[in-house]
Symmetry: C2
Subunit: 359 residues, 2 copies
């Protein structure tokens, strides 16, 4: 049961993928550690420049011969006016004041074509470096991009939050589809269906997707241990992707304060917010989320709002202050542990085998 | 694995409970059918008078010697002003007009003491009739009520949507706790934690509750087949409770139009609404939900809003018009089937055993 199509396809020992968390969590050391533990380590490269991406790929290749993967954000068209940016800054300035940051007024609105161009360059690097696996969030890339990566024999994974999104991923030629349940921490990967409608729990999402696609399904959202792995397999998934469980590991690049916030949180402390980035994402409720609650829907789209809040998040982080950091977490923080990647995987596999023997 | 503490406790063959759906679904014939199939049939008695309850219990006892259960709503204090009722009627009147119903203006506001008194009478009937199992939604009854039912040797089940709610149920003396995932159709059973915070998917909720209580945990929400049963058991639950899966069965008392709505729905068509009853509940999006969307939070509390919309729901139902009916459904409608209860259970158990043999 632990050796299946996915382990063959990804050339890993266990059907476990480390979620490609962006924003400094997936350091080379961490990705290497995960890949060396028999799982698939992933670079969360959504916010990285093509140059940074190439450097990290080279670094990882030097430290492991095991497969690893990379995740990119498919650019979504966005529209934003100068007035929207002004009003967002107006809302954010009192928070900046609390952190002794300069207030902001104007802001250079990013150009969608520039975002697209960066994406194409990111793809070029991934293709040239022949990263074994490439996954996508926020949509499906163009036919040309898919064709280019396939020519480099790269295995492609898409993200879906509904059956329809999974079917579209299969149609586009993805080799694997990662289905993201409503339990998942961080950004929602939905790109077709509405916000509320695409918040489907894994107990419902996995079997309904499995019944409607032929490519292997990987489950993600709230999975932290052998129980979650075995449950996902019972529901028809071929493997799991875990974010929060890996994030609190000793080797992860997440900020100490961030790890502590997860380790002391309960299942009823995460909420969905678009205040940090302009896209809905699940994180632990903190001062920032509370103060922004009433403006939630007025803020500019991703990635504009993300850029706007950058100074706040960075300063809060530099001050070891969790109040204004994005504390992405799935709905199972009570199951998070501060252990090494090796211990996490060992105990997970032992638990999975034990469940397998008694059910 | 299918014979465990729960099956012994409930004296049933399979660890499967039919969710106590209120509003005419759980006819005596249906409950008997479920109990005769080796599962636990349940009367959804939340809206029933003590006299109706006694009649149905007697009817069921005449048709089966197998155990069955009953569910009651724990009364929640509510506050409502005449103005709130007026404004709710003002919002509802255009809908009434569409159904050729008389507009309404005034309304006799129910008295909380009357609601409480009815509850105590319901308890008295359940106790006198020694119904084998009694479950509760919307809270935990008083010590006196719990003591009375225990004197009649009735097994008690509470409902929880978070770890804290599960722990409170255990402390109060419940024998079993039903954990309701965010996937679940119908009313949210949360009674301590906030609306968004208590929307925890089963993949996260089950293991976190199991780690924190000693009483057996039953999972509910989106579970429709052998896959869901086995997944729940892997996560640590001792059994499952299924609503939508039983609702579309041939023997259920649900309206034909309602069954058809579920059978043709997708996983991304259910939403949470409090427009029908004043309490958040998951159902298939229809005309009523869409028209009420903007007033969602302005409506009176449960059960006032429920009484206010009664004429609309009843008339819509009588006209075979699904537009203004409450179409409660979990997030797995693609897995719903129009089959007999017997076939549902047979295929579920066959599937569960198959999964058990290959994982």
């Amino acid at each position: 049961m632990l050796n299946n199509k996915i382990t063959e396809l990804l050339k890993v020992e266990y059907p476990i993928i480390q979620a490609p968390m962006a924003g400094g969590v997936t350091t080379s050391k961490f990705v290497v550690e995960v890949s060396n533990s028999g799982c698939l380590g992933m670079i969360g490269a959504g916010y990285m420049t093509p140059i940074q991406i190439r450097e990290q790929i080279k670094e990882i290749k030097q430290s492991t011969s095991n497969p690893f993967g990379i995740n990119l954000f498919v650019p979504n068209a966005f529209k934003v006016t100068e007035n929207e940016v002004k009003s967002a800054n107006h809302i954010l300035n009192p928070l900046r004041h609390q952190l002794n940051l300069q207030p902001k007024d104007s802001f250079e609105i990013p150009n969608f074509n520039d975002v697209l161009e960066t994406f194409i360059e990111q793809i070029k690097v991934v293709s040239e470096e022949k990263v074994p696996i490439c996954s996508f969030t926020f949509g499906i890339p163009s036919k040309e991009v898919i064709a280019e990566l396939k020519r480099s024999n790269i295995i492609l994974m898409g993200t879906a939050t509904t059956v329809r999104e999974a079917v579209e991923n299969e149609k586009a030629g993805m080799d694997i589809v990662v289905v993201q349940g409503s339990e998942a921490g961080g950004h929602r990967g939905s790109f077709i269906d509405g916000d509320q409608e695409s918040l489907v729990g894994l107990m419902s999402l996995i079997p309904q997707v499995v019944d409607n696609v032929r490519i292997p399904v990987v489950a993600t959202g709230g999975i932290m241990d052998g129980r979650g792995l075995m449950a996902s397999i019972c529901l028809g998934a071929k493997g799991v992707q875990m974010g929060t469980a890996f994030l609190t590991c000793i080797e992860s690049g997440a900020h100490k304060v961030y790890k502590e916030a997860i380790l002391s949180a309960n299942e009823d402390q995460t909420v969905l917010t678009r205040s940090f980035s302009g896209k809905w994402a699940r994180g632990i409720k903190n001062e920032f989320i509370l103060e922004m609650q009433n403006y939630e829907t007025l803020l500019p789209d991703f990635p504009v709002q993300n850029t706007l809040t950058q100074d706040i998040r960075k300063t809060s982080s530099a001050q070891n202050n969790q109040d204004f950091m994005s504390l992405w977490s799935g709905q199972s923080p009570r199951l998070a542990k501060s252990i090494t990647v090796e211990s996490l995987i060992k105990s997970l596999i032992t638990e999975a085998k034990k469940i397998n023997s008694y059910i």
